[in-house]
């Protein structure tokens, strides 16, 4: 039985209406972590289903994370913010986590063969931190040309959906109660 850690965790979500499938997020992800471009080493994955559907997926930070459960080396753990932490000394590249993940967002680094999963850029290279921001933040969000990517928790997602549904049901409610 999962028990929630302290914070309600946020994860990367992508709006398929806005996503054009440009793969910029994938390229940037590999670049800020490794200093090289290689979308195979990305932690966010574009999915294109021809002819018109585009989206990208990253770690959902499942409460009961199957990847953590599946790891025979006990190399995976969950951080307080819900992110999956990979202990690279323990990870032996067996790929069980990749098989266990329901969303296909746990992969193996093509060179190191260690488990690769979204860390919300906690481990991005310091050199690439924007001096105006001064701290690490998800770079896929920073560069997405269409602002299709955002960081949200399930509460925020629910709230936005509820507001949308009310607008659909009641129309313009700003004048509500006017006599």
């Amino acid at each position: 039985m999962a028990t929630r850690k302290k914070k309600i965790h946020q994860f990367i979500i992508v709006d398929p209406d806005l996503c054009t499938g440009c793969e910029t997020c994938e390229s940037v992800c590999s670049f800020v972590h490794d200093g090289e471009f290689n979308p195979i080493n990305t932690r966010i994955h574009r999915v294109r289903i021809e002819p018109v559907f585009n989206i990208a997926l990253a770690c959902q930070k499942c409460e009961d994370a199957p990847c953590v459960e599946s790891c025979p080396e006990k190399a995976l753990d969950k951080a307080e913010d819900g992110s999956i932490i990979v202990d690279e000394d323990k990870c032996n590249g067996c790929g069980f986590c990749a098989r266990a993940c329901d969303f296909g967002v746990m992969t193996m680094h093509i060179v190191s063969q260690k488990a690769l999963v979204c860390d919300l850029c906690e481990n991005m290279k310091e050199d690439f931190i924007d001096p105006e921001i001064g701290k690490r933040e998800p770079q896929c969000i920073a560069v997405c040309p269409k602002e299709a990517i955002s960081l949200k928790n399930v509460e925020q997602i629910g709230e936005e959906k509820r507001i949308d549904s009310i607008r659909r049901l009641f129309g313009d409610v700003t004048e509500f109660g006017n006599k």
């Binding site: 054009t20 002819p51 018109v52 269409k146």
Partner: protein, 644 residues
């Protein structure tokens, strides 16, 4: 440091993989070699590589559809980085449409995947004894016989089948359809379903070599020379690429131009009889209507922040084309729309989809159909010939005609299946006098969406284009649209020439980098474009030196044309612009004037440092550009199968 040889070469060059593959299809041999540091510095990528390799390695005068033609595939240093629109590749060969320098550029995922496979250029010679496709899978290069699998299939199915075979949805596949296989001179190359290397018949060259497709995938990482600085620059460019500079390409897409060019009398209608159209005036055939009623999604190529690809969908209840999906831009709205006098959107979508899937260039295809429609209205071809009527405004018959020219079937396929120029020749041989007059082509390549009646600057710009009628070799149409010079007049020939050249040299660099011309406006200046090159490659080209390379590339491909028999007469718009005027709109009653046109053409030659009379680069110009190796080799070859 304007001379390229003065630009120092760093210890390590990044961006470029510098790997060249040589594929001899005749004996199936594939060799790998290294492009020299000087070669990549001096020829930049794409267009530059194509121009230099074809000059050096293509024997002059060969039949473009013979095994002697050389097919060059090339990228520059940028694919797989996040420089906006960098996943582009170019293909180059002697063109079966023009008999001169052929080139076409496409995007999608091919450039990026090829770069990760570590390939910079592929030079393909000879002809395979049976249909094959080439696989570039990281360090593995091999040919796969495909007569029983994908040969004969359309491009969409070919891509799906090969991807299935590799169990890889992201395998990049560039292929030809049945049109390229049968060597239609309009044959195009399709990749990622909606992207085409469309122009100048490069698909026919692949077909002539029995080469159905090239597939790429790779796992290599790409380093850049100055990662921190490059990241900063790229982030800024991505932002700007979503600002006002590219709004027209993102929002309504290029079809926004339908309305604006219609207002100027520059949007070709009914095979250039008019430059304005009531169906645009009344709002039925505009970019706004297209977007509101039909566009369901905008899709991007790899590493493109603009996403110009506008996907149209026909509803599932449509009687003829339920659920039809097609990728649309302004050129198709012209070629199969206004120029055919057809305002029925689903008909246009269907024709475009046929061209993309079966594999002909949708500009050439539509313009050829428009020629046929005008000939039909004039009685030069008849229902008895075609088996059906084909007036302007045709719908289902236009679709039938398009399918026939793609497949080479029926009267339409036999006569019109190789484009306007061949159709004119064939019809005149049958005694249909003056049929060529209605083929709207320059150097054999069908014209893009600009009506030249009231465009005296672009009449020159489009005519001097190295690859035949084209709006992407220089941006001279902007001079007319913006009113930089009197667009009905012929004054200031030298100044106009200089303005045309200014965009032509930059475009040559854009086509060599290769990036998309839609990003032309995102750079503050040419110095910033040169800087980005240095950040990625480590080669410190300056604004001045890089533009000089652009000039050299244009000159070298021009020399290629001269060697193939080009003369001044080839730089000329169709006679129609000089004889038949519009009956309405801003260019009503206007025709181009031969004397005036020739004056402007001489002005362009003079500005280029070419002989004012012959249009041939002078020895001084060639020396100034480091093209000494060309001197003495400009004697036209005896051509066959090509021009004249």
């Amino acid at each position: 440091m304007s001379k390229s040889k003065d630009i120092p070469i760093p210890d390590t060059i990044t961006g470029y993989s510098q790997v060249r593959l040589d594929v001899d299809l005749t004996n199936g041999k594939i060799d790998k070699s290294t492009l020299s540091n000087e070669f990549v510095r001096d020829w930049i990528g794409g267009y530059g590589f194509g121009a230099k390799i074809l000059w050096d390695e293509l024997k002059p005068g060969v039949d473009p559809l013979s095994p002697e033609n050389v097919f060059v595939w090339a990228i520059g240093p940028f694919p797989s980085t996040i420089l906006p629109t960098s996943s582009k590749y170019g293909v180059f060969a002697k063109s079966p449409l023009t008999g001169m320098f052929g080139m076409a550029i496409s995007s999608g995922s091919v450039g990026a995947q090829a770069r990760r496979a570590g390939i910079n250029t592929i030079v393909i010679k000879g002809k395979a004894s049976e249909p094959v496709y080439l696989v570039v899978d990281d360090g593995d290069y091999y040919l796969v016989p495909c007569e029983k699998t994908v040969w004969g299939k359309g491009n969409f199915e070919t891509e799906e089948l090969i991807r299935e075979d590799f169990q890889d949805h992201r395998l990049a596949v560039m292929s030809i359809g049945p049109s390229g296989e049968r060597m239609s001179r309009m044959g195009c190359i399709t990749n990622d379903r909606n992207r085409q290397a469309g122009r100048t018949g490069m698909g026919a060259v692949m077909g002539s070599k029995n080469l159905k497709a090239i597939c790429f995938r790779g796992t290599q990482s790409i380093k850049v020379a100055q990662p921190v600085e490059f990241y900063k620059a790229a982030k800024k460019l991505i932002k700007v690429a979503n600002g006002p500079a590219t709004a027209k390409y993102r929002d309504l897409g290029t079809p926004a131009g339908i309305t604006s060019y219609n207002k100027l009398g520059m949007f070709p209608t009914k095979n250039y009889r008019e430059g304005t159209w009531e169906e645009i005036d009344n709002g039925k055939f505009t970019g706004d209507t297209l977007n509101q009623d039909w566009i369901v999604k905008k899709v991007a190529c790899s590493q493109c922040s603009i996403a110009c690809d506008h996907i149209a969908r026909v509803s599932k209840t449509h009687p003829e084309y339920p659920n039809l999906i097609a990728s649309i831009d302004v050129e198709m709205c012209y070629s199969f729309g206004s120029n055919m006098g057809t305002s029925d959107w689903p008909t246009v979508f269907k024709c475009v989809q046929l061209c993309d899937d079966l594999g002909i260039d949708a500009i050439s295809g539509g313009v050829t159909a428009s020629m046929a429609a005008e000939l039909f209205e004039l009685g030069l071809i008849t229902k008895k010939d075609l088996g059906y009527e084909l007036p302007f405004g045709s719908t289902t018959n236009l679709v039938k005609f398009t399918e026939e020219i793609c497949m080479g079937t029926g009267f339409a396929g036999e006569i019109f299946g190789d484009g306007c120029k061949q159709a004119g020749i064939r019809l005149e041989e049958m005694g249909r006098k003056n049929a060529s007059y209605y083929g709207m082509q320059i150097k054999g390549l069908e014209m893009p969406a600009f009506d030249l009646h009231g465009m005296t600057s672009f009449a020159v710009g489009e005519s001097v284009s190295i690859r035949g009628a084209c709006h992407l070799r220089n941006g001279a149409y902007g001079l007319d649209a913006k009113g930089t010079f009197d667009r009905f007049g012929y004054e200031k020939p030298l100044e106009r020439g200089k303005k045309i050249i200014a965009t032509e040299d930059v475009y040559a660099i854009i086509d060599s980098y290769i990036i998309c011309k839609f990003t032309r406006g995102i750079y503050e200046n040419d110095a910033e474009m040169a800087k980005v090159y240095e950040l990625v490659t480590g080669i410190p080209h300056t604004e001045e030196s890089i533009l000089k390379r652009g000039e050299a590339i244009v000159n070298l491909s021009k020399c290629f044309n001269i060697r193939e028999g080009w003369t001044r007469a080839d730089d000329h718009p169709p006679e129609k612009f000089f004889k038949d005027a519009h009956t309405k709109g801003p260019a009503k009653g206007v025709t181009l004037k031969e004397d005036g046109y020739q004056t402007l053409l001489s002005g362009y030659y003079e500005a280029r440092g070419w002989d004012k009379e012959t249009g041939i680069p002078t020895d001084d110009t060639l020396k100034r550009l480091g093209l000494d190796f060309v001197i003495g080799k400009l004697k036209p070859a005896t051509t066959k199968g090509g021009k004249k």
